[in-house]
């Protein structure tokens, strides 16, 4: 297989988060505009200045990136629509980076935005994908909770991982969320509260689930020169991977596409897991966080329980995890849930966090996981980001 070429001449900058709301009477278009307006405030740029636009959303229907471009007055010479939810941030990053590197665009706004109106979650689920409409949701309509309950049931038995282990991840993320003013969950979560939460779909309990909400996330991919001109701090992209529908032969999902490509990621990055100052992992459920920690090379699955016990996942800890609280504590704003790992990682290495700063953070591992098309997450990706210039 051809080796990945370096992302020379690419700068990542200007992460923005539009504060989430549990329910919103606004549209995805409104939230997208809000994210662009936030980018404009950081950069002083307007619609005419962006020549690239990369977009992810579930609730913009019937519009795609095309409708959004006209709706918001953009005129890009490069655009892309990423329909992969939780993997959309890493994928947007990869695509925009190559477009900028090759000169197809110079200044790309990457935006994910979703609204959450009353009952829109149910309606989105009903028609989410053909396989889910035919073969998942008619089975009790437990939504993603039920699908991940099946995955968790199998995972916990297969690798001797317990709810106690998941509790540690969730409690640490909540501790991280407390310094994030935008997090929807504002109260501390204790181990006991996690353990005593009401069951949702065994073995998934209340604090294993994200809270659907409205929100938007965005960042800019451009050249180092342009970033300097705009006075923006920048990060560089050390390496990335992406894989879809890996291990289709596995019965119940126990691994994601990362497991197939992780060696390529670390060798292209020139770093290993021990060199990361943080992990911003996709956290729709703690079982998926645990799966990622193993698949991304922090430990093997058999020693997951021990690894979790030995690691401090808080911002001041040995391996800070989802430092904004992740979706579990900050909320899941649809496709923006697949961008918040990128924006939070960027903010930490650019030393401009929403909440507390990881001391001297230089490098972030970002991991995306998206789209339960039927019985498992199909899309996976990961990226290693490194601080470049602080301005």
């Amino acid at each position: 297989m051809a080796r990945q070429k370096p992302y020379d001449g690419v700068a990542l900058c200007a992460p923005v988060t539009v504060p989430y709301m549990r329910f919103s009477d606004k549209s995805a278009h409104w939230w997208t505009g809000a994210a662009l307006a936030a980018l404009a405030r950081q950069t002083g740029l307007g619609p005419a200045d962006f020549d690239g636009f990369c977009f992810a959303s579930f609730s913009a229907v019937p519009d795609t990136v095309v409708g959004m471009v006209q709706h918001l007055g953009l005129s890009p010479r490069w655009m892309d629509h990423i329909p992969t939810g939780g993997a959309s941030g890493v994928m947007a990053l990869r695509r925009a980076a190559r477009a900028v590197q090759m000169g197809d665009a110079e200044l790309v706004a990457c935006v994910a935005a979703d609204t959450n109106q009353i009952d829109s979650f149910r309606q989105t689920l009903q028609g989410f994908s053909r396989f889910s409409q035919d073969a998942t949701y008619p089975y009790g309509f437990g939504g993603p909770n039920a699908t991940f309950a099946l995955i968790a049931d199998n995972f916990m038995r297969s690798y001797d991982v317990s709810r106690e282990d998941f509790a540690k991840l969730c409690v640490a993320q909540r501790a991280n969320a407390l310094s994030n003013p935008h997090a929807l969950m504002k109260k501390p979560l204790t181990h006991a509260q996690y353990m005593q939460a009401r069951p949702i779909s065994d073995p998934i309990h209340l604090f294993d689930c994200v809270m659907p909400c409205a929100g938007a996330e965005a960042f800019i991919v451009t050249t180092p020169e342009k970033a300097q001109e705009l006075g923006l701090s920048t990060a560089r992209l050390a390496a990335t991977i992406e894989r879809h529908n890996a291990f289709a032969e596995d019965g119940v999902q126990t691994r994601g596409g990362w497991a197939r490509d992780i060696d390529d990621l670390w060798s292209a990055a020139g770093y290993g897991p021990q060199d990361m100052d943080m992990v911003q992992a996709y956290d729709d459920y703690p079982v998926i966080v645990a799966m990622q920690l193993a698949d991304l090379g922090f430990c093997d699955k058999a020693s997951l329980s021990q690894f979790i016990a030995d690691t401090d996942f808080t911002i001041g800890g040995s391996l800070p995890l989802n430092t904004n609280g992740g979706q579990l504590s900050a909320g899941q704003a649809g496709a923006a849930g697949g961008f918040q790992n990128v924006t939070e990682g960027l903010r930490q290495i650019l030393h401009d966090p929403l909440g507390e700063q990881i001391p001297n953070a230089q490098r972030a591992l970002i991991s995306g996981f998206g789209l339960v098309n039927y019985d498992r997450g199909i899309c996976t990706g990961a990226a290693v980001l490194e601080q470049d210039v602080l301005r």
Partner: protein, 412 residues
Amino acid sequence: MTDPLIPPKRKDPLVVTRAGHVSPTLRSRSATAMAARAGMGRFVLQVCDDCAKATYPQRDRCPFCWGTLSWQDQPNGAVIEAETTIRSSIDLFFKEHLPWRIGSARLDAGPMATVHLHGDVARGDRVRLELKLDRAGNPALFAMPERETPHMADDPQLRVFTAHPKFRRVLVTDGRSEIGQAVAEALLKAGAKTVFLGNADPLMRYPGQEQIEAIPGIEPVHLSLTDTRSIETLAGQLGGRVEIVVNTARFTRQGGVGFGGHLSNLQSGLDLEVTGLMRLAQGFAPALSARSDDGDRSAAALVDIASIYGLTGKAGYAGSSATAAARLSLMASLRGEMAQTGIRVMSVLTGPIEDGWHQNVPPPKTTSAQIARAVVTALEQGQETICADEVAKDVLARWLQDPILTIREENK
């Protein structure tokens, strides 16, 4: 072990009846094709025409080699690899039926599938998968214990996918006929609480009347399918306490189209069997629909018994076959309507009946006992189309294979 169903209490008229929501209805065309086969009691999966591998969920091309797919009967064994009990749902039907158990099944045929779990099935078990129809007429894989367990049919999740007669009250439209009487008796044996037995002409005695009316659970009622007012009156009296309607009315006469047919026979047949079916549906469909999710004694099904020759026509029985054709057509339309309210619409198909109107037809012929058995099986299984006998099975198999050939054969 399943808790045996206990006889439902009398309904409290002051309590609001649960609305008959159906489970989510959006489906692909391939899923609908699976439903059509599920309705006939088959266990099918799509198999690749090129590489012969089975696939699931329903696709339009093979995921292994991109070949074309066709529906084939498949082994129905499976192993449950993971399970969950859903305790929270935002769906209007399921939220009223929690907790709900599902599992991940590895099918002997190859694919993995998310399946409904019978209460006696757990993770690691070998199971027998049944392809059922849900309340909205969509396909549903249901994992049953591999071997019969006590009170297996009483499992509350399973009962959502069947119209089991146990403790239900049934209207059988024509008690004057041998078929109606056989059906009524079989339903009581299968656990029905009451059979309201229709009699179009209470002033005229009929064969078997004393015996059938003496059976506990039989309640004779005045019902004439040719009289709209009699249906309206009965629906007014029974609408709220009938859960299953079985239409056994039949009017068969020999005759051709250009030769030997009597217009009056055709008109009588159409009035009783076709207009009569519509009268019956208009009288009882709204009441059944309103109670399709009414606890252990939910309204469940409307069953119609019609001649298989409705699919093909039949030389020598042209008028009766035309009547059956109209009847099947009405049933298809009614099925679509009732799928929105959670009531199953079932057709029992028969060959020539063993009666005085089929004296010239050589055996095998369909007996009343066979028809009664088919009615009970269809209800117990939740099956949409069932053949009562070998002739019906033979004609249906040929018709499914090659309808225009079968039509020609049956009219020679």
